[in-house]
């Protein structure tokens, strides 16, 4: 009898699952023929008064304690304030799982017209929500799939932050030169450290552009990189920074979101270049400058576009021109003299088109300069390279899609671990 029940139950379960599986629909893969990032459109181009009851939702991976999420939260508040929106919701600590979908669906259910998510791993779940709520716009920062997904209400955004990193690198290089001139280090001791989160293209692109920025002013520099395997792990970031300092690094930068590395630098008295927000509060004697993505222009633009019923492009790449890439809070007490002028000169050269961060003349791979590179721009199962990105002598980063895809290991950078 018991066995009979057991069998009956299992059969029932299977039958129930299979019976309704006929409803599962194959996802339509109309590969959207969206081209890459053109010159980003800004909010100024849209003439619409956003109604004050226009409801907007923001989904954040962590909370205000993470510099990364704080950057988004501040931008969200600023954009809503600027547009006169009072009815907005910000949900924090939403993990990169089903909970992201649930939160997005909840927001859509309660009347949000446009919903933003801030973390790479949110992407699949935002896409799922976008499929189910076609009347709501879903905007995902740092994602890679919008241009191949072909959904009219799902969009990616990023900024050409590699330019910001390069500029921050110039500030770091100036500091190194100052230390050499002061006799604190010699030119061949010039090694810097970098605490990265994962071996993603986003991180690789970040540390490589930073390194190229440093090397543009301090040619003898080399760099060590440690990955922590987490976007937010204060202890690991602190330990990694200390390990780099013990290993002879005389300046540290990081791409991970806690105060771990900056506070380690402050206690060791090693200069630090920050990301996504000033960390001068924990490092008044070591903090130099921070590059940052300012999401406010994108939020403002996307909300206005949604209110006006205008199509939002699948990929939106903010630049220095749209004020999406910023260098903030130069700490003149620590930075070398003339840093601001050097940065301004580089910005002018970038605008004039004479300076490209990933100019193939400036980096080598195994002793050779590249003249061709196929990058994996369209995400697929096997990560096959699909797009030629070296054109006219430089690597075109963030142009074929908004999220970075520079994943080349260049000479001069040593990875101390790569298990993430």
């Amino acid at each position: 009898m018991k066995k009979f029940f057991a069998i009956l139950l299992s059969l029932l379960m299977i039958a129930a699952l299979v019976a309704c599986s006929a409803n599962t629909q194959g996802t339509d893969d109309a590969a959207g023929a969206n081209n890459g990032a053109a010159q980003a459109e800004t909010a100024d181009n849209i003439d619409v008064q956003v109604p004050s009851d226009f409801k907007v939702g923001f989904i954040c991976l962590h909370d205000e304690n993470s510099t990364y999420d704080l950057n988004f939260i501040n931008a969200a508040k600023a954009a809503c304030e600027k547009l006169g929106i009072t009815d907005y919701v910000i949900k924090t600590n939403i993990p990169e799982g089903k909970e992201c979908y649930d939160t997005a669906a909840d927001m859509a259910d309660s009347g949000c017209k446009i919903i933003f998510a801030d973390s790479f791993g949110h992407e699949d779940f935002m896409i799922q929500a976008a499929r189910e709520f076609p009347d709501v716009q879903f905007c995902h920062s740092t994602g890679t799939k919008a241009h191949t997904e072909g959904l009219p209400n799902y969009h990616n955004a990023f900024a050409a932050i590699y330019e910001g990193r390069y500029l921050a690198g110039i500030a770091a290089g100036m500091k190194l030169n100052e230390m050499i001139a002061d006799g604190k280090i010699t030119a061949d001791q010039c090694k810097i450290g970098y605490v990265g989160a994962f071996t993603y293209a986003e991180v690789v692109s970040g540390y490589t552009s930073f390194f190229l920025g440093v090397r543009s002013v301090c040619p003898s520099v080399t760099m060590d990189v440690i990955f922590t395997g987490s976007w937010y792990d204060e202890k690991a970031e602190k330990e990694s920074a200390l390990k780099l300092i013990d290993g002879g690094c005389v300046l540290i930068s990081q791409h991970a979101d806690s105060m771990g590395a900056p506070s380690a630098c402050e206690s060791a008295g090693v200069p630090n270049v920050s990301y996504n927000g000033s960390t001068i509060s924990v490092g008044p004697n070591t903090y130099i400058i921070s590059s940052r993505i300012n999401w406010e222009p994108y939020y403002e633009y996307a909300i206005k576009a949604a209110a006006a019923g205008k199509a939002i492009p699948a990929d939106w790449t903010g630049t220095i021109a749209t004020d999406s890439v910023q260098l903030i809070d130069l700490n003149t007490a620590v930075a070398a003299d003339g840093t601001q002028e050097a940065i301004d000169a580089a910005i002018a050269a970038m605008k004039a088109g004479t300076l490209h961060v990933f100019d193939t003349k400036n980096f080598q791979v195994e002793g050779k300069n590249l003249d061709s590179y196929m990058a994996d721009v369209n995400s697929d199962a096997d990560f096959t390279p699909d797009t030629e990105v070296i054109i006219d002598g430089y690597f075109h980063e963030s142009e074929f899609r908004s999220a970075p895809y520079f994943d080349i290991q260049i000479d001069g950078i040593t990875l101390l671990n790569k298990s993430f």
Partner: protein, 382 residues
């Protein structure tokens, strides 16, 4: 001041104490919420209700959460009734989820599943049984190991089951994205999260996930709810009326009595732990299959919360339903409360409220079992 063990107090009194403990806990939660947010308590409760039951989809989702917590609570109950301190539900659910997800990923990558000419119904007919069997088997294995070691070498089951949680978590993390795992066995070639499983393969995406009826969001929660409801009834019958259930109760009262009565204690212990693990594994399957995704946090502490749920309901399935409902309401409801600056209360706040409730519930068991006597002249009880 003396602390004295009470005689057994009447059931109604015990429940009165538990009821008032929960009430005080809720009031304290309300007070703390008010002190921190300065929001009108009525508005807070309204927000919680609309957040959890405001639409059909939200209601389904809330009851799905209740169902999963209830299911895990049911799973740990037989072992607890037997006084086997199994705190390994977290790992048993995770390893079940892991096995189910592994089926989705590895079977989903076979040529049969990648081809478009096989109908989804056929694929599901293969996938679902495979997932259920794998999840249940792994969950059962995670239950079996501590029980086996306990009965063979008298190891400490609390530590053993706790360690098994970490083993499960580390296995999952390792396979998921460690670069030393060969690429074709890796779940996320360069990512931190698995995302929607198989979303990169058009033809096998969605196979193994519980479908939505008429594509209505929220309806995918129906099947887990039904399965757990069935399970509740079955487990109630099993514990109350079957010979196994009786044996569990006897072993729980006293192992000696049990062995004098001719019950093979070791066999009962192992069998019951396998059952616990298997149900946990099934819950893991339901999680993965409903969510279509897996991450290290998929169990989200339910394995530990379930211990409390089972305990505070005195192993009564009906009580477990209401306890689960209460905990889910507080935990998920708190996240629906918006602050004036637009940022909603979050998980951390919700966990704090949970902790307050659990603290009171555990605390009241002390009051039920002991009494405190003030003054020093009382005669010592013998």
């Amino acid at each position: 001041m003396h602390i004295i063990k009470r005689d057994v107090i009447p059931a109604w009194k015990a429940w009165l104490i538990r009821g008032s403990a929960i009430l005080i806990a809720i009031l304290l939660c309300g007070l703390i919420t008010y002190m921190i947010t300065r929001l009108n308590p009525i508005t807070v409760i309204q927000n919680m209700f609309t957040g959890l039951f405001g639409s059909g989809r939200k209601t389904m989702k809330t009851f799905y959460q209740v169902a999963i917590l209830l299911g895990v609570s049911l799973a740990v109950t037989p072992a607890f009734k037997m006084r086997f301190w199994n705190i390994g539900a977290e790992g048993q659910v995770l390893i079940g989820a892991f096995a189910a997800a592994a089926c989705m990923i590895y079977i989903g990558r076979t040529p049969l599943f990648l081809s478009g000419s096989v109908s989804p119904a056929v694929k599901n007919l293969i996938m679902f049984p495979a997932m259920v069997i794998a999840a249940v088997a792994f969950g059962a294995l995670w239950g079996f190991l501590p029980a086996f070691f306990k009965s063979r070498w008298n190891t400490n089951e609390t530590l053993f089951t706790l360690m098994m949680n970490y083993v499960a978590l580390q296995i999952f993390k390792f396979i998921k994205n460690n670069q030393t795992v060969p690429t074709r066995f890796r779940w996320t070639p360069d990512g931190t999260t698995v995302g929607m499983i198989n979303s990169q393969y058009k033809n096998s995406f969605g196979i193994g996930t519980i479908p939505k009826f008429n594509n209505k969001p929220g309806t995918e929660c129906l099947i887990p709810i039904i399965i757990v409801a069935l399970l509740t009834v079955l487990l109630y019958l099993y514990l109350k009326y079957s010979k196994h259930g009786f044996e569990i109760a006897v072993v729980g009262e006293s192992e000696r009595t049990a062995s004098y009565a001719g019950i093979k204690v070791n066999r009962v212990v192992i069998r019951t732990m396998i059952l616990s693990g298997a149900i946990c594994g099934l819950m893991g399957f339901l999680l993965v299959s409903t969510e279509g995704s897996i991450n290290d946090n998929i169990v989200d502490g339910r394995g530990y919360t379930a211990v409390m749920v089972s305990w505070m309901s005195q192993f009564n399935p009906i009580g477990m339903f209401f306890s689960s409902l209460l905990l889910v309401f507080m935990q998920f409801g708190a996240k629906e409360v918006p602050m004036p600056d637009g940022v909603s209360l979050d998980k951390n706040f919700a966990n704090m409220l949970m902790a307050i409730i659990l603290f009171f519930i555990i605390g009241c068991e002390f009051i039920i079992n002991y009494k405190i006597q003030f003054g020093r002249h009382k005669k010592r009880e013998v």
